[in-house]
């Protein structure tokens, strides 16, 4: 080997890189199927469901209370974009002040403020507007400072677990090469002219550089050579000091609890449905979903302590929260039936408590009620549709109506969208006549109360 060739063959070849682990499936904002930020497309990819379903869900939630916008913006912030390792929300605290949580706090308080002091005014809308603007600005900022993610975008090369922060120079770069006088050679020692002045070390081979006479053989040369050979045969010395950014290897993650929790929920849901069918247990779908959300939250807490992947549980929790939001807005469709209902009670014992209909039109005619004395409370609830109540001509009526989305029309007064309306008719109650107190609710549709014609 030439003396100036790098001595890389002293070291054993690097071990082959470990086989790349199969990429874990994760929730990402889609780049291929996106209308705004790819949240619905990503959800569709993740759950293998048509993204249109998620889009409809977000639109419905947006119309029914506005939570759809909140969820979508949360998805924009918390779900990483396809091909990136970190979401906007994860990146912001690492690259500056925790602006994002502060903004969330501010908006939340603003919205509460609006609720407390301006319930029917624009406070809530103001909070939403701020939220939308804040989310948009954060998103734009992350797009502009794309270099935040740049080192995150590409997957690390195999074996490049700890990128070195400082590469010390090789010893050959720090110190000049040591000149080792070669072992004396009889040929050179005898043939070298004594009078020529050597100009390079090679010309001193075997000669004393001062007097040009043959040198005595180095008694340690043989030992040095043997020592260097033995040293070369040793395996490379392991690094004693870890790199500056060393992190201890993580303990092996325990298997995810998601399959266990989902299976458990299926079993419990099936048992609850059976008991409900046999009238042993009265449990609604909303109550079951709420219980499932509590169980998912507790499983997440356990998972946080025992160590395990939690993404599946978080996705399940978000799904259950969305389902519960829908169930809370449209409560009645999960309980009542579907179609046209004509309720004509003739006595108080025939009055249902309360009247329920899921989807459709319900007509409640109270003009046939007889033997009315004192005050009676009658309630009716419809999920999606119209509720019409006809009251006796002479009765005192306290009508309380509200709709989630739609209109309340009580006698000659009306109100829209989510506002409760209470009307006393006649305004000055006649003490000789019975009083009917009506509690009427429609999730989406119309409530109407009419006085019977003379």
């Amino acid at each position: 080997m030439a003396p100036d060739e790098p001595t890389t063959d002293w070291y054993p070849p690097p071990p082959p890189p470990p086989p790349a682990a199969p990429p874990a499936r994760r929730l990402e904002r889609s780049r291929r199927d996106r209308k705004i930020a790819g949240v619905c497309g990503g959800l569709g990819d993740y759950f293998d469901i048509d993204p249109v379903i998620f889009r409809i869900g977000f639109v419905v939630l947006t119309i029914a209370g506005g939570s759809g916008i909140l969820l979508y913006i949360a998805g924009m912030i918390f779900v990483p974009e396809e091909g990136r390792r970190r979401s906007i929300g994860e990146s912001l605290p690492r690259h500056g002040r925790p602006l994002f949580p502060v903004i969330l706090l501010g908006i939340g308080f603003l919205m509460l403020w609006g609720q407390m002091f301006d319930r029917h005014g624009g406070g809530f809308g103001f909070g939403f507007t701020l939220l939308a603007i804040g989310g948009f600005l954060l998103w734009r900022r992350s797009q502009r400072h794309d270099d935040w993610h740049r080192d995150d975008d590409l997957p690390p090369a195999p074996g490049d677990l700890y990128p070195p922060m400082w590469n010390p120079p090789a010893p050959d770069d720090m110190y000049p090469p040591r000149w080792n006088p070669p072992a004396p050679s009889e040929t050179t020692s005898t043939s070298a002219p004594a009078t020529s002045h050597p100009s390079t070390p090679s010309e001193f081979d075997g000669l004393d550089p001062f007097d040009g006479k043959p040198r005595d053989p180095d008694p340690t040369a043989a030992y040095t050579t043997a020592h260097e050979q033995a040293f070369a045969a040793l395996p490379p010395e392991p690094e004693i000091w870890p790199p500056l950014d060393y992190q201890p290897p993580a303990l092996p993650q325990r298997p995810s609890m998601t399959p266990v929790v989902v299976s458990f929920l299926f079993v419990v849901g099936g048992i609850a449905a059976l008991l409900s069918t046999t009238n042993t247990l009265d449990i609604t779908a909303g109550e079951f979903l709420a219980g499932a959300l509590i169980a998912t939250g507790l499983a997440l807490v356990i998972n946080a302590v025992r160590g395990g992947r939690s993404r599946g549980l978080i996705a399940l929790g978000i799904l259950l929260t969305i389902a519960l939001s829908i169930a809370s807005v449209a409560r009645e469709p999960l309980r009542g039936g579907i179609g046209q209902r004509d309720w004509n009670p003739a006595t108080l014992s025939q009055v249902e408590r309360p009247y329920r209909l899921g989807i459709g039109e319900g007509d409640l005619d109270l003009t046939h009620l007889t033997n009315l004395h004192g005050k009676h409370v009658i309630a009716a609830r419809i999920g999606l549709g119209q509720l019409k109540v006809i009251v006796p001509r002479d009765a005192n009526v306290i009508a309380k109506g509200d709709v989630g989305v739609g209109q309340v029309r009580l006698f000659d007064q009306s109100r829209d969208n989510g506002n409760h309306l209470t009307v006393l008719d006649p305004p000055a109650a006649n003490s000789d006549q019975p009083t009917l107190e009506l509690h009427l609710h429609v999730d989406v549709g119309q409530v109407e109360v009419l006085r019977a014609a003379a």
Binding site: G65, G66, S67, L70, A74, G89, P93, P98, F100, P101, V102, I103, L104, L105, I107, G108, F109, M111, L112, Q115, F124, G127, L131, L251, R254, T284, G286, E287, L289, A290, G291, A292, L293, I294, A295, T296, G297, L298, A299, L300, V301, I302, N303, A304, V305, R306, G307, S310, L313, I314, G317, L320, T321, L324, S325, A327, S328, V329, R331
Partner: protein, 68 residues
Amino acid sequence: MPRHEVDHRSLIAGLLFSALGVLFMIDQATDVRIDLQWVWPLFLIGLGVAGLASTTLRRRSGQQIGKD
């Protein structure tokens, strides 16, 4: 025996979901009606507190490592 570090993100998400579940359960199973317009601001505040807490804990643990 080495123990897993507590995953603050999962812990906070779990507590948040549990609290939401309790609120929804009260809404669904009792006559008390929880208006969603109150739930979502509380959810946002919880999210913000969670973010602040996790940032603070991460920084504190980083300082501990630096001291050692």
